[in-house]
């Protein structure tokens, strides 16, 4: 019997280590249905599809040119020439609930600061009858997504890992009420993690996610408040993390405590990082929560996703002050790191915004 038990233990450990090797980060562009051509068919079929598409496109283009192409000037002297490079993108954002003008102006200011941080210096932001309008010639969808991001940032202690959400099977009732406590054997306390300063790692890095959280869905943005205990997924764009989901305690620091944020390429680790400086009056607070999580994990929660959850000072035998610095490293690309820095450095949006319309204007 003990044989079977130990085999089961070994299997569980092996599966976990194999399964949780790093996964390449995915973004919206990786969603397979966004590409018109299925990614998996055999090469021959792929060629056929591409060929057929090319023919359709050529036929369509020829048709368009015949139907709507330029006439000789004598035919239609009034038609205005439209050139691609002269077009600007014009986006209209509206708050998800009506807001006083002061809030809207604040949101527009934040948006302008983000555009500036992203290098979109020629973009214009205006408020207009309860809406915010942005236009610019070099804007793109990625920039427009970043400028309206809520940007609610919290630094929270990680209480334990949680498995993927598994809704109760049909007929079962979902659990209600607040999240339960992490069970003690899964708690990511410094004592449980037992960091070995020699290897810079937790001696006990096989602490499993607490299975009792499986039936609980992710905490919604409406409930992702600073004083709440929350259950959040790892940010898929930030690469693989220790757990698929995290249970995190009340925030010890939030986005409005940030003074500046810059993206930097770190030669030592060959990766992009975001360097955050905390406002002077929040430095003590930042070091207090970092010290509380010494040799344990702190999670960086941005808009309900965990960007990363680093182990605090695993090299050191005693806590030393971080001063006003926080370094966020995940599997960022340069663009992602710059986007994150732009959002963190300009503070959260005072209101949730949705994109109402997007037009090309000459």
């Amino acid at each position: 019997m003990t044989d079977i038990d130990s085999i089961e233990q070994r299997l569980r450990r092996t599966f976990r280590v194999v399964a949780e090797q790093p996964i390449a980060p995915v973004g919206i562009e990786d969603e397979p249905w966004r590409t018109s051509v299925p990614p998996l068919p055999s090469r021959r079929r792929l060629r056929q599809v591409v060929g057929a598409l090319a023919i359709i496109v050529v036929v369509a283009l020829v048709g368009l040119v015949v139907a709507y192409g330029p006439r000789s000037s004598s035919n239609s002297p009034s038609s205005t020439p439209v050139t691609q490079s002269a077009q600007a993108l014009h986006a209209v954002f509206v708050p998800t609930s009506p807001q006083p003008r002061a809030v809207l102006v604040q949101a527009a200011t934040t948006m302008a600061a983000r555009l500036h941080a992203l290098g979109e210096s020629d973009a214009a932001v205006t408020t207009n009858h309860g809406a915010i309008e942005v236009s610019g010639r070099t804007l793109n969808q990625a920039v427009l997504r970043l400028v309206r991001e809520t940007g609610a940032f919290y630094v929270r202690p990680v209480l334990c890992g949680a498995p993927s959400y598994r809704p109760p099977t049909q007929g079962g009732t979902p659990p209600s009420g607040p999240l339960p406590m992490c069970q003690s054997q899964y708690a990511l306390t410094a004592a449980n993690l037992a960091v070995n300063t020699g290897t810079q790692q937790s001696a006990n890095n096989t602490i499993m996610p607490d299975p009792s959280f499986a039936p609980y869905p992710d905490t919604s943005s409406a409930h992702d408040g600073p004083s709440a205990t929350v259950l959040l997924p790892g940010d898929p764009a930030a690469g693989a993390q220790q757990y698929t989901r995290f249970v995190l305690g009340p925030a010890g620091l939030n986005g409005s405590d940030i003074a500046t944020a810059y993206a930097q390429y770190d030669d030592a680790t060959s990766s992009w990082i975001v360097d955050v400086t905390v406002k002077p009056d929040a430095v003590a607070q930042w070091n207090a929560i970092a010290e509380q999580s010494f040799h344990a994990y702190l999670g960086f929660d941005l808009d309900g996703q965990v960007l990363s959850a680093p182990l605090i000072q695993p090299l050191q035998t005693a806590f030393t002050s971080f001063g006003g610095q926080i370094q966020i490293s995940a599997n960022f690309t340069g663009t992602e790191a710059k986007g994150l820095a732009a959002v963190l450095g300009t503070g959260p949006m005072p209101v949730r915004l949705s994109l109402q319309s997007l037009t090309h204007t000459p």
Binding site: R10, V17, V18, I28, S164
Partner: protein, 155 residues
């Protein structure tokens, strides 16, 4: 959960993708033994859910079953084409894990899948049967055979 007929909306799919992508890669990696194949399988699974004309009752369950089926099909195809299945060289720094993983990879597909769903995903025998589309009795016997084969090899 609201009742919606027709295909899943693009935003529903995006949410599902964001929520389940990593978990599905992990599962497919256990079933196929290869990250590259796992990524292909998961892409294809999401594509299938997208191409369905009706929203599945339980998208998560549908996805898991599709991943399991595609993993099996993929292995079969690879074998037929006599291509070398490149298994991940994962350095465990732990001979015990290396040995265990190598033995797991030698098991027939169903036994390996049952073990992964039981000991990684923590599914019940009934749920495993649903995912793999077989009877509970088959799950039980595969579980038993897989475990005793591993016990013979590893102890």
């Amino acid at each position: 959960m609201e009742l919606v007929s027709g295909p899943m909306s693009s935003s529903d799919l995006s949410t599902l993708f964001r929520r389940e992508h990593a978990a599905m890669i992990r599962l497919a990696r256990l079933l196929t033994g290869s990250t590259v194949v796992a990524e292909e399988v998961v892409q294809e699974a999401f594509l299938r859910i997208h191409q369905r004309s009706e929203r599945p009752q339980n998208p998560g369950g549908y996805l898991r079953t599709t991943v399991a089926n595609l993993s099996k099909g993929h292995l079969r195809r690879l074998r037929l084409e006599r291509r070398l299945l490149t298994r991940d060289r994962i350095s465990f720094n732990d001979p015990e894990l290396d040995e265990t993983w190598a033995s797991v990879c030698r098991l027939p597909f169903r036994q390996r899948a049952v073990l992964a769903l039981r000991f990684y995903e923590d599914l019940s025998e009934a749920d495993i049967a649903r995912v793999l589309g077989c009877r509970v009795g088959t799950v039980k016997s595969s579980l038993h055979r897989g475990l005793s084969k591993l016990r013979d090899e590893l102890t």
